[in-house]
Symmetry: C2
């Protein structure tokens, strides 16, 4: 997280660009250039990153869209991850994994081990299995100087179905946050713990209460833009220093070219510039 | 699930062999035969399946152990899945995925679409994001005649941390079961719905109450053997017809050769024969 915050400072940005590629949606020039899934994903991802890498601290790959393309998709994912890291970006793989301890440790090795094909700076994890799952990720992340974003309150319409259930006057997501705060791995000698939290932009009230509950977590915030969350709602999430939140936009950036004839690279760039401006008015004091 | 139950009848078995390969643990003859990860995983998985395919209805691959081996691991996973299906086994990929609706649909395409590199008969999913995640999986599974196993009560020591929390006199896992039962996709004209549930063998009391709550779900039951769950505890899970539970053993079968000098193939076979005998005394009336 220290590396992430350093990059947020350097770039003057709290934006993470979400790369969720759907080949059917790609522009004709990419589809015409090659019939191969790998080539198409690489062309698309490379263009997006070329447009934004000097403007944002981080990119987030959504593993599902690459897995949906099979082995060629995963080969492209590994190569795009490396490209992002080579460009100095903090790279997150949004995998939302969770499993019994020994299996969670295998997932951790896949994404947090130096030299792994899919080595990234941070991943997202799912808390449903409890701390023997979470701690397998925390342990390897700590060893390898990596970050974790634990799902606390997600941005989707049905996130409340379980997450908002009330237990002894608190919601389930409050319990998840409390378990995190009380976990020995959460302690940090720095301003922020290496364990962040996923909290959706679409639920501003919850964002506010979770900011108080987890002052030392960087929040990874989905739901800006396409899913409906706006800049002002996010003000509280940034915290007093302005580095408490990393706000994701995927479709609003990577598909900006559908409404902007400047092409993928330039359209992504312009969308990021607008988003930086929007967010920075709320995060700067 | 119809296909699964047919295979359970044919083989006279409620065992699913869990293939969770850890290369460091492989026997010297496999390590000596090739230095390549792909070759080693293929040799191991092929030997295990050659030993058990005529004795069990199903195999379950734990995706984490293949992801931990990077692209070569995933290539082996795809090829072992195909080998299992070619041998007439019902193949489960234990991926425990869950995400917002559109992303969950991409995961569903990766594992449940005809012709996908990782196409299997069923996958496991995680309920933390609620029904827009779950339903994206249910929808594609129904379309493609596939199965889903929803995590309800997992087998690991810390599963109770969230799953056992009490909400209005019921636990969180009860809520997950109830949401499943009330979901329109759960209806079925056959004895069993295409949506099963993961319920750990290590919690017999919960297994009993969930059997009552979800009479039309096949339970995928981890935790037998290495994790401590025994045959008698499982009696109730099978239900009146004996087809309500598919009991997983991974380490107890695939690493049986460590205590049995007959080699991987024969040692796996003998371990499955013993497990079939143990379970069948409880499931037969």
């Amino acid at each position: 997280m220290r590396r992430l915050i350093q990059k947020m400072k350097e770039k003057g940005s709290a934006v993470v660009v979400g790369i969720d590629p759907v080949i059917e949606r790609f522009p004709p020039e990419i589809l015409a250039a090659s019939p191969r899934t790998y080539d198409r994903l690489m062309a698309f991802g490379t263009e997006v990153m070329a447009g934004v890498w000097d403007l944002v601290p981080a990119v987030k790959f959504q593993s599902a869209y690459f897995e949906a393309c099979g082995l060629e998709g995963l080969r492209a994912l590994g190569d795009l991850i490396r490209l992002g890291r080579d460009k100095g970006l903090f790279v997150i793989n949004d995998v939302k994994r969770g499993d019994i301890g020994s299996t969670a440790a295998a997932y951790a090795r896949a994404y947090l081990s130096p030299g792994a094909d899919f080595e990234v700076d941070a991943i997202t994890i799912n808390p449903y299995l409890g701390d023997d799952s979470n701690e397998a990720f925390y342990r390897l992340a700590k060893e390898n100087d990596k970050g974790i974003f634990l799902l606390v309150k997600t941005s989707n319409p049905s996130s409340g179905q379980l997450q908002d259930l009330e237990i002894q006057g608190k919601t389930l997501y409050d319990h998840v946050a409390e378990n995190l705060k009380n976990n020995p791995y959460y302690e940090s000698r720095e301003d922020y713990s290496f364990i962040g939290a996923v909290v959706g932009a679409t639920y501003p009230r919850q964002l506010k209460s979770l900011r108080r509950a987890l002052p030392r977590s960087v929040f990874l915030i989905p739901g800006y833009g396409a899913q409906g969350g706006g800049g002002e709602d996010l003000k509280v999430a940034f915290g007093p220093d302005g580095f408490g939140a990393l706000v994701n936009s995927s479709r609003g950036i990577i598909y900006a070219y559908e409404k902007n004839p400047a092409g993928i690279r330039q359209a992504s760039r312009e969308a990021v510039i607008a988003m930086n401006q929007d967010l920075n008015q709320w995060r700067m004091k």
